[in-house]
Symmetry: C2
Subunit: 658 residues, 2 copies
C-alpha cells in the first residue's frame, strides 16, 4: 500500500508521467524495450543488489565477477547482442554492479590501435573469454600527463622481443580495473626504446597471469590496490614488471610499428583515435553521472513528501518537509539540472554522431570543438551532479546518512567521475584554451566553430527585463548567460595579453590566469546548457502538457544559475540590483510552482525499487518500515565477541584490577 502522503502527490500531477518517460527514453518503444531489459535482469536473483550495503570489499568483488559471468549466459538466453537495441540498457539495469568493464576497454583499444592482423588474433580470444583483459595506463606517479609515464619497453633486436620494466616505484601501474585479481592480459602503455632512442608512449599487449592456473607470469608482480571510497566491486590493481619479455607482434601497430630490424615506422592518421578519447567522456555522462543524480532526486524528493517535521502553521499537523522553502531550494534545482543535463546529453550525442560522420569522410575540422565540448561538459556535468547528489543526501538528514538510503553509495561513486577520464580542472582548462583561441580568431575577423561564434558578438548592452515575469523569458536569461560567457572570456584574454605584453613569460602568464580561465569555461558550458534547454522546450510545442512543466524546469535551471552566481551577472551592470531582486523573486516563485509536480517529475525517471535500492526512495513511500526491516538484517545484529571479551568483564568487574 502506498503511503497516503506520497499517493496524494501523484493525484495532482499536471502532466502525463508516462508521456514524459517516453520523451526521456526517446520514444514509447524505447521505454518498452528498456523495461523488458530491466524486468529480465531484476527478476534474476543472481543480479540482486539486496545485500550490497552489508557486503565487504571481497564479497562485492566476488559478486561482481559472478554477475559478469552470468551475464554472458543471460544475454544468450534472452537473445540480446552487443548490436541489439537492448544492449545499452543492460548496464543501467545492473546499476553498474558487474565486473569485466575493463575487458571491454581492452577489446576497444585493440580494435582502435591494433593492426588488422592483431585484431584478427586477439578479438576472438577476448570475445570468447579465453582471456580476461585490462588496460594499464595510469601509474602510481603519473596520471594526467601521459608523456611523463615511466614504464619502458626496450626492443631487443636479437630475440625480436620487447623487454618491459617499471624501473621505479612511481612507474608502477596503479588503478587499472579488473587487473588486481582477474585479468590475464593487459594493454600496457610504455615508453618505447629502440637502439637507445626513446620514441614516446606506445601500447603493448602483456600477459600477466597464467591461463592454466592464474598464477602471476615470471617478472610480474600484481595485486589489488585496496580499499577505496566506492567501487568495492572492482579489483583496481597494481602491476610491477621486471624484464618481462613479449614478442614484437604484441606492440599495437595500427599507427606505429617497429620492424624486425628496429626501424620505427609511422603510418596513417591518429586523429580518429583522438576522437575516440573525446567520445568516452561523453558516453559516461548518461550512465555514470546523470543516472545517479536522477536516482538521488527520486529518493530525496519522495522522502521529503513522506517525512513530516515541525509545523508550518500553528495547530496543524507536522508539515511535509518539501513544503519548506529551504528544502525546495535544496532539491528542486537538482531536479531541474537533471533534466537540463539529460537534454544537453542528447545534444552532445547528436553533435558527436555528426562529427563521426565527418571524420569518416576524412574531415577532421570539428575535432578541436568536439574536444573542447567533451572536456568542458564532462567537467561541468560531473561537478554539478556530484554536488547535486551530496545536496540530496544532506537534505535527508540522518536517514540520508544511513547506507540503507542508497544516497551515500551514489555520492561516493559519482564523486570519482570528477577525477577519472580527465581531472575536471585540467579539462576545464582545455576547454578554456579553445575558447581563448576562438575569441582571438573572432576578434581578428577569422571564422570560428559554431558553438563559439557568439564570442565574436561582444555586446555592451544591459538586460532589458522590466519586471520579474520578464525573467521567465528564455531570450532574456539566455542572453544574460551569453553576456557573462563573453565577458569572462574576453576579460581573461585581455589579462593574458596584458601579462605577456608586460614581459611575463607565456606559460607563467597562462598559470596566473587559470582560476579565471576555469570560470570562463564554466560560463561557456552553462550558457550552452541553458540555451539548449530553452530550444528543447520550444520544440515540444506538440506536447502541450509536457512543454509547460519543462518550461518551468528550464526557467528554474536558468534562474538558479543566476541566483547562485549573482556576482557574474551584476559585475558590469548587465543585470542591475533591482533586476537581480526580480530574478530572486521569480526564482523563489518557481520553487513553489514546481514543488507541486515534484513527485511526478521524479516518477518519470521510471526507476524500479530494485534499481534505487533505497529504504527512503521506494515507490510506495513506506520509509520507516523498510529502514527497520533492512537494519534487522545487518551483520551488526549478529552476536559480537565484544560482549564476552570486553563488556562482560567490565560490567562484572572481573577485568584484571586497575
Amino acid at each position: 500500500s502506498v503511503n497516503p502522503d506520497l499517493a496524494s502527490e501523484r493525484q495532482i500531477a499536471s502532466f502525463s508521467v508516462e508521456k514524459l518517460t517516453a520523451l526521456l527514453d526517446g520514444s514509447a518503444e524505447q521505454t518498452r524495450i528498456r523495461r523488458a531489459v530491466v524486468e529480465a535482469i531484476e527478476s534474476d536473483p543472481v543480479f540482486s543488489r539486496e545485500n550490497q550495503y552489508f557486503q565487504t570489499q571481497n564479497e562485492r568483488y566476488e559478486s561482481a565477477v559472478r554477475k559478469a559471468v552470468h551475464l554472458q549466459k543471460k544475454m544468450h538466453e534472452m537473445g540480446w547482442t552487443e548490436n541489439g537495441p537492448e544492449y545499452k540498457y543492460i548496464y543501467r539495469a545492473l546499476s553498474g554492479d558487474v565486473a569485466f568493464l575493463l575487458h571491454r576497454v581492452f577489446m576497444r583499444s585493440i580494435s582502435v590501435l591494433g593492426s588488422d592482423k592483431q585484431i584478427a588474433k586477439w578479438i576472438p580470444l577476448a570475445t570468447q573469454h579465453k582471456l580476461i583483459g585490462s588496460y594499464a595506463q595510469t601509474e602510481l606517479g603519473h596520471g594526467t600527463y601521459l608523456q611523463g609515464l615511466e614504464t619502458t619497453a626496450v626492443f631487443d633486436i636479437a630475440t625480436q622481443e620487447f623487454i618491459l620494466n617499471t624501473p621505479k616505484i612511481s612507474a608502477m601501474k596503479w588503478w587499472p580495473g579488473d587487473m588486481g585479481r582477474s585479468a590475464t592480459h593487459t594493454v600496457v602503455f610504455a615508453q618505447l626504446y629502440v637502439h637507445g632512442k626513446c620514441y614516446g608512449i606506445h601500447p603493448f599487449i602483456v600477459q600477466i597471469r597464467s591461463l592454466q592456473d592464474h598464477s602471476l607470469c615470471p617478472g610480474v608482480t600484481a595485486g589489488d590496490i585496496g580499499p577505496k571510497m566506492n567501487f568495492e566491486h572492482i579489483d583496481n590493481g597494481y602491476l610491477l614488471l621486471k624484464n618481462v619479455r613479449i614478442p614484437r607482434e604484441n606492440m599495437l601497430s595500427k599507427f606505429c610499428e617497429v620492424q624486425p630490424d628496429g626501424t620505427y615506422v609511422k603510418q596513417g592518421s591518429q586523429k580518429i583515435n583522438y576522437f575516440t578519447m573525446t567520445t568516452v567522456r561523453i558516453s559516461l555522462i548518461s550512465d555514470e553521472v546523470l543516472t545517479p543524480l536522477m536516482k538521488a532526486c527520486t529518493i530525496a524528493i519522495r522522502y521529503s513528501v513522506v517525512r513530516r517535521q515541525s509545523k508550518l502553521k500553528p495547530g496543524e499537523q507536522e508539515a511535509k518537509i518539501l513544503d519548506y522553502q529551504t528544502q525546495q531550494e535544496k532539491l528542486l534545482p537538482q531536479l531541474a539540472a537533471a533534466y537540463a543535463f539529460h537534454f544537453i546529453d542528447d545534444y552532445l550525442q547528436e553533435l558527436f554522431n555528426r562529427g563521426y560522420r565527418e571524420i569518416q569522410k576524412k574531415n577532421f575540422d570539428m575535432l578541436p570543438e568536439l574536444h573542447a565540448l567533451s572536456s568542458g561538459f564532462k567537467a561541468m556535468i560531473t561537478q554539478h551532479c556530484t554536488a547535486g547528489v551530496e545536496i540530496c543526501l544532506r537534505a535527508c538528514g540522518g536517514h540520508g546518512y544511513s547506507l540503507l538510503s542508497g544516497l551515500p553509495s551514489l555520492y561516493t561513486k559519482i564523486l570519482a567521475s570528477c577525477i577519472y577520464e580527465g581531472e575536471n580542472t585540467i579539462l576545464l582548462l582545455q576547454a578554456a584554451r579553445f575558447l581563448i583561441k576562438c575569441f582571438m580568431a573572432a576578434s581578428a575577423g577569422q571564422p570560428v566553430p559554431l558553438s563559439a561564434t557568439y564570442l565574436a558578438a561582444v555586446k555592451h548592452g544591459k538586460c532589458p527585463a522590466k519586471n520579474k515575469l520578464d525573467f521567465l523569458s528564455p531570450d532574456i536569461y539566455t542572453e544574460a548567460y551569453q553576456h557573462v560567457a563573453v565577458r569572462l572570456t574576453s576579460s581573461t584574454a585581455a589579462k593574458l595579453q596584458d601579462l605577456i605584453q608586460s614581459g611575463v613569460k607565456k606559460h607563467d602568464a597562462w598559470n596566473q590566469c587559470t582560476v579565471q580561465l576555469v570560470q570562463a569555461a564554466k560560463a561557456h558550458c552553462h550558457y550552452i546548457a541553458v540555451k539548449n534547454f530553452a530550444e528543447t522546450v520550444e520544440k515540444l510545442e506538440t506536447k502541450a502538457g509536457i512543454q509547460k512543466i519543462m518550461k518551468h524546469l528550464c526557467d528554474l535551471f536558468a534562474l538558479h544559475g543566476i541566483f547562485s552566481n549573482t556576482g557574474a551577472f551584476l559585475h558590469d551592470g548587465y543585470i542591475s540590483a533591482a533586476q537581480m531582486d526580480m530574478v530572486t523573486a521569480s526564482y523563489l516563485d518557481l520553487l513553489a510552482v514546481i514543488r507541486k509536480d515534484a513527485v511526478p517529475l521524479v516518477d518519470a525517471f521510471d526507476f524500479t525499487d530494485k534499481s534505487l535500492n533505497s529504504a527512503l526512495g521506494s515507490y510506495d513511500g513506506q520509509v520507516y518500515q523498510r529502514l527497520y526491516k533492512w537494519a534487522q538484517k545487518s551483520p551488526t545484529n549478529q552476536m559480537s565477541p565484544a560482549y564476552e571479551r570486553y563488556l562482560k568483564p567490565l560490567l562484572h568487574n572481573t577485568l584484571s584490577k586497575l
Copy 2:
C-alpha cells in the same frame, strides 16, 4: 628519510613552526602536555588505527569497545583524571575511535536533569561501569522537532510505575550511540501522561539489557541500525518498548516530578539546561570539525608538494602541483579557514565561559545571543569545514579517492556534523530569528546584544578602497562584510514586513523568506569570523614573525569570502566592479605569497603520522612507498573464491554450455 621535495619546503619557512604550534595550543606548556598524551596513546598497540581502513563494521565496533575498556586502565596507569590537564587531549589522540561516548552523555544528562538523590544513586554506578548508559531521544520519525516525539510514559498510580511504549514504528528510538549492542541502560525521552493528561517530553532512565547476561529486558526490542557512511565503530541503535515498567523514581526530576498521588510538580529554572544544549554545539567544533579540516589540509598540502605532474615551463622537470594557481586556489583558502575557525572557536569558548559565569549569578540575559551564536557558528563552521575536506580530497585526484589517503574517512565523518546536534538549515534559521529581532529592536532604538549592535548602524556608503593593496587593510574588508550582513538582514526584515502587511499570514511570510534568512545568518557569522581573525592578528604584535603570516591568512580568508560570493558585495554597489577586480588581483597575489609557507603552516598543526593515518600525508612525504606497502596488506590481496568458482570455468570454457 624525508622526500627532498618536502624537505625543501621546510627550509624556506618564514616563521617558527614551534612558536605557531604553541600559539595554537595556548602555550608551550600545553603543547608539551598534549604531546605527552599523544605519545602515551600512540605507543600503546591497543589504540592502533593501523588496520582501520581494512576492517568491517563488526571489527570496528569490537575494536572501539576494546579501546574504551583499555582506556580506563590507561588513565589509571598514567594518572590522568577527568579534571586533569591531559583529559581534553585524550579524545583527539584517539582520533575519536573509541566506544562509550554516549555513556558520558548518559552521565551528563543525569547530572543536569536528575535530582540530588538520583545523581547520588546513578553517577557512581556509571563511573564504575556497573552499567553502560546511552541517551535515547531521536526517533525514526522525529528528530528536529522534539515536541513531536511519540514514545509515551504513562504513570500507573497503582504500582507507582511508568509504563513506557513506542506505540508506532515511527516512535521507535533510532540512532542513539552505544545502544545497538553495548548499553544496559538509557535515558528515554517520552511524552509523560498522568491521569490521561499529557505533560510533554520528559526523561526517564530505562534498563534495556540484563546486567547478568546482557539479554534484552522484557518488553524491549533493540539492535543496531546497520551500515552508515561512517561511524562504523559506533553501535547506533534502535529501541522498541512494549509496556516496559520502570519505578516512579526513574523519571529524572530536577525540574519536574510526578508525586506518588500523580500530582505533577515543576521546580527551578530549566534555563541552565538550555544553556547546556548550546554549549554542546560549541564544544564539538574543535574535535569533530576543526581537527578533520586541519588533517585534510595537512594531507593535501604535503601531497601537493610531493606530487609532480605536467610542466609549468617547457624543458623543466614536471612541476609540484601546488605551484599551479588552480591547486593553490583549492587548498590555501581551506588552510586560511582552518586558522580563522580556530580563532573563532577561542572567541566562542571565551564568550561561553563568560555566559556561564553570568548564569551562575542567575543572570540569563546572554542566553538568546549565546543560542544564536552557537547555532549560527555550528552551522557555518561545519558547512565550511565539510566542504573544505571535500575540496582537499578532490584536489588529491585518484590517490585522494583511496581510503589509504585518509581523506574519504575524514569526509564521510565530518559530513555528519552538518546534521547532528541540530540540522544546519534549522540552526541558521534560529540564528536568523535572533538577527531579525535584534534588527527590529535596533530600528526602534532599543538596546541589542553586543554581537548584533552593528545592525543599528546602517550605513549607505561605498567601499573607500582605491587600489588592490587597500584590500589588504582589515578595516576595508571587515566593513565590507559588515555592510553585507546589515544589508541582507535589513532587506529580509523589510520583505517579511511587506508580506505581513500585504496580508500574508506570519508563518507563511516567514517560510517565504527562509532562503534569504539563511543568507543573512551566514553573512552575520562570516562578518564576525573575519572581524575576530583581524582582531586576533592585531593582538599578535609581540610575535612579529607569526603576526605577518597570520595577517596574510586573515587577508586570504576575507578576500576568498568576497571572491566566492561577489554578488553579495556588488549588489548595491558597495564594492564597484573596478574594486572587485582589485579584490580578485589581491586575492590571487596572496595565493602565491602563502603558497611559500604552506607546508610550515600545516606542520604547525603538529599531527603525528599515526594520527593522520594517511599514505599521502606523512611527515616524510614518502607517498608512493606507503601506498604500495599498505595496499599489499589489504584483505583484497588474499585468495578469492571467485577464481575457482567463476573465472577458471570461464577461462577453461567449462561453464555449462551457453
